[in-house]
């Protein structure tokens, strides 16, 4: 029995140290955000705050400055919400529609198109970004909310289409045939039969899109325009473009605030989040 005990202790020790490594940054973020600047200057990274105060959070939310604008990350929060909602609903709708058409209707040539789309998932953003700026500008949507949403639709299409195509591939063909014989047309079968059956995949896709779009930086930076900058861009501006002394407590509070939405999605969704990773990973 003895060697087994040693083994168990080893397993738990390793896991405990690993957990500490993964939790440390979160802990440091939280305690730093609750300290005053005087306390931070003492340089005790791991110490708990002596006086619990939320001033830094208030400042980060509504007063922190990016250059001359001092509105906090609040503006970015609402911009991100405005971007995320349509950039979740539309790509999922289009992805489900693509997957449905590809799996059941199989129009001629569509599979070739799908193959190119899958390859497209591997094209680095930098290859496409300038041509897309030109295209989006040509249709008058550059630096606007519809513009950034359109770009999110484009970049999420490979994964969204793949998710639903694979999901519908597992639906028995007989079900579709029966619906056809009962007189169901293209749209009716999609809306009344397939979509209601897709709830699990809709949840997985929504989790992926909400976290992915919320965490996007480069697309928001280029396409959203000054008035729609997402929270990630604003956060980076608050922290990396400030002049004078850096207010670390405010910075950490702003970082936590920016991470709040995807973390909340993660903690609430639990295994669904992992399922999304596994399903999206199939693209490899």
């Amino acid at each position: 029995m003895k060697p087994r005990h040693v083994g168990r202790i080893g397993v738990y020790t390793f896991l405990a140290f690993a957990a500490l490594f993964f939790l440390a940054p979160l802990y440091i973020m939280v305690v730093t955000s609750l300290k005053s600047m005087d306390e931070i200057r003492l340089g005790q990274l791991f110490a708990l705050p002596q006086h619990f105060n939320l001033d830094a959070w208030r400042t980060a939310w509504s007063e922190a400055c990016t250059g001359v604008d001092c509105g906090g990350v609040r503006v970015g929060f609402w911009n991100s919400v405005a971007i995320v909602v349509p950039s979740t609903v539309l790509p999922i709708g289009i992805g489900a529609l693509n997957g449905y058409a590809l799996s059941f209707w199989k129009p001629r040539g569509a599979d070739a198109l799908f193959a190119v789309l899958m390859l497209g998932a591997f094209i680095p953003v930098q290859v496409m970004i300038y041509p897309l700026v030109k295209v989006v500008a040509a249709i008058g949507l550059f630096s606007s909310l519809p513009g950034i949403v359109l770009v999110h639709i484009v970049f999420s299409m490979p994964v969204m289409t793949l998710l639903f195509r694979n999901y519908y591939a597992a639906v028995p063909a007989e079900l579709f045939k029966a619906a056809r014989i009962d007189g169901g047309g293209f749209w009716r079968i999609f809306v009344q039969l397939m979509l209601p059956m897709s709830t699990p995949m809709l949840i997985v896709a929504a989790i992926m899109q909400i976290t992915g779009v919320w965490n996007d930086y480069v697309l928001g930076l280029v396409f959203a325009g000054r008035d729609n900058l997402p929270m990630t861009v604003q956060l980076n501006n608050v922290i990396n473009t400030t002049t004078g002394e850096r207010l670390y407590n405010v910075n950490m509070a702003a970082t936590i605030l920016t991470s709040m939405v995807p973390l909340a999605v993660y903690f609430v969704s639990g295994r669904w989040f992992v399922r999304g990773i596994a399903a999206g990973a199939v693209k490899g």
Partner: protein, 320 residues
């Protein structure tokens, strides 16, 4: 509008029932069939446009621009591969490629090793598995920007880890990689490994759980030590999972941009520059469209060269 009845009269009024076999028996119904056949294509129109304009069109456009002398605006001249020669003579580009290679190798190796170890240890029927999984994976839900900013703070020598350890009684402790030109890229590796190891853990754990219990029973009967089974039997069995992990991590490596911008802004100087940042700077800051496009195409070719063999092997494996 009511659709016309088919000649046989089999459809009830209103066309609620369409018998596919008989729908084409009149010319009118034939037209209807053609129109109906177009519906799926109509639905796929957004996808077709995306593929043709955004993916193929944009890539070809970048390829074309990379062979011109465009600076702020696209230009129509053709200079062959001159931009590529300039690109590879550019010291900043060379440095960014070296950084990418170093970062890529270290990041992928470290993430896979740590992720695999975490998965194996969690797989030992430990208590609190759910909590541990949550702890290891939560960084993956955070943005690269937030990750970069947190680690910038932790690794900042003046106020972060170095200072904290000095206060604890090791006054000579030094850990200032983030301001060291030769070591700064390693700090980006640390932050990225922290962010992505949980992802590998989750995928590997799913792979481990898919392994037949019989294998473990057989190994126990033969008296093979557990670590040996993992290394010599289980790991080779996880080939497909490893390929997935590699492709995911590799596409992440090529894209690395946000984390560098947030953590070091490419500095000190240009010491932690990466190709994606080089390209973005030359597209939008330095107005050197052609050079940036050449860089983007090089990046694309790198991805294809490394990912294509894996995809090819997989598609063969699937059809076999």
């Amino acid at each position: 509008m009511n659709p016309p009845r088919s000649a046989s009269g089999a459809s009830p009024p209103g066309g609620q029932r369409q018998w596919p076999g008989k729908a084409g028996s009149t010319a009118f119904a034939g037209w209807r069939r053609i129109l109906r056949g177009l519906v799926p294509w109509g639905a796929l129109l957004p996808m077709a446009l995306t593929v043709l304009v955004a993916y193929l069109g944009a890539t070809l456009w970048s390829l074309r621009v990379s062979m011109s002398s465009a600076r702020t605006f696209p230009s129509d001249d053709f200079v062959g591969l001159a931009q590529y020669e300039r690109l590879f003579d550019n010291e900043r580009w060379q440095l960014s490629l070296q950084n990418l290679a170093l970062y890529g190798v270290l990041f992928i190796v470290a993430t896979v090793v740590i992720g695999f170890l975490l998965a194996v240890f969690i797989d030992q029927k430990v208590k609190g598995e759910g909590a541990l999984r949550t702890v290891f994976l939560y960084p993956y839900a955070m943005s690269f920007v937030a990750t970069g900013l947190v680690w910038q703070w932790v690794l900042n020598p003046g106020s972060g880890l170095q200072q904290a350890v000095r206060q604890m009684g090791w006054p000579d402790f030094t850990f200032d990689w983030i301001i060291d030109q030769d070591k700064v890229i390693y700090t980006v590796v640390i932050a990225s490994v922290w962010q992505a190891s949980g992802l590998v853990m989750a995928l590997m754990l799913a792979g481990l759980r898919g392994i037949d219990d019989e294998l473990w029973k057989a190994a126990r009967i033969d008296g093979i030590p557990t670590w040996r089974v993992y290394l010599s039997i289980v790991l080779p069995m996880m080939g497909p999972t490893l390929a997935t992990v590699f492709v995911l991590l590799f596409t992440g490596v090529v894209k690395v941009f946000d984390a560098v911008v947030a953590m070091t802004q490419g500095g000190p100087g240009t010491a932690s520059d990466v190709p994606a940042k080089f390209i973005m700077d030359h597209l939008f800051g330095r107005a050197n469209l052609a050079l940036a496009s050449a860089g983007a195409i090089v990046l694309l070719l790198t991805v294809l060269a490394l990912v294509a063999p894996i995809l090819y092997a997989r598609s063969r494996g699937r059809s076999a």
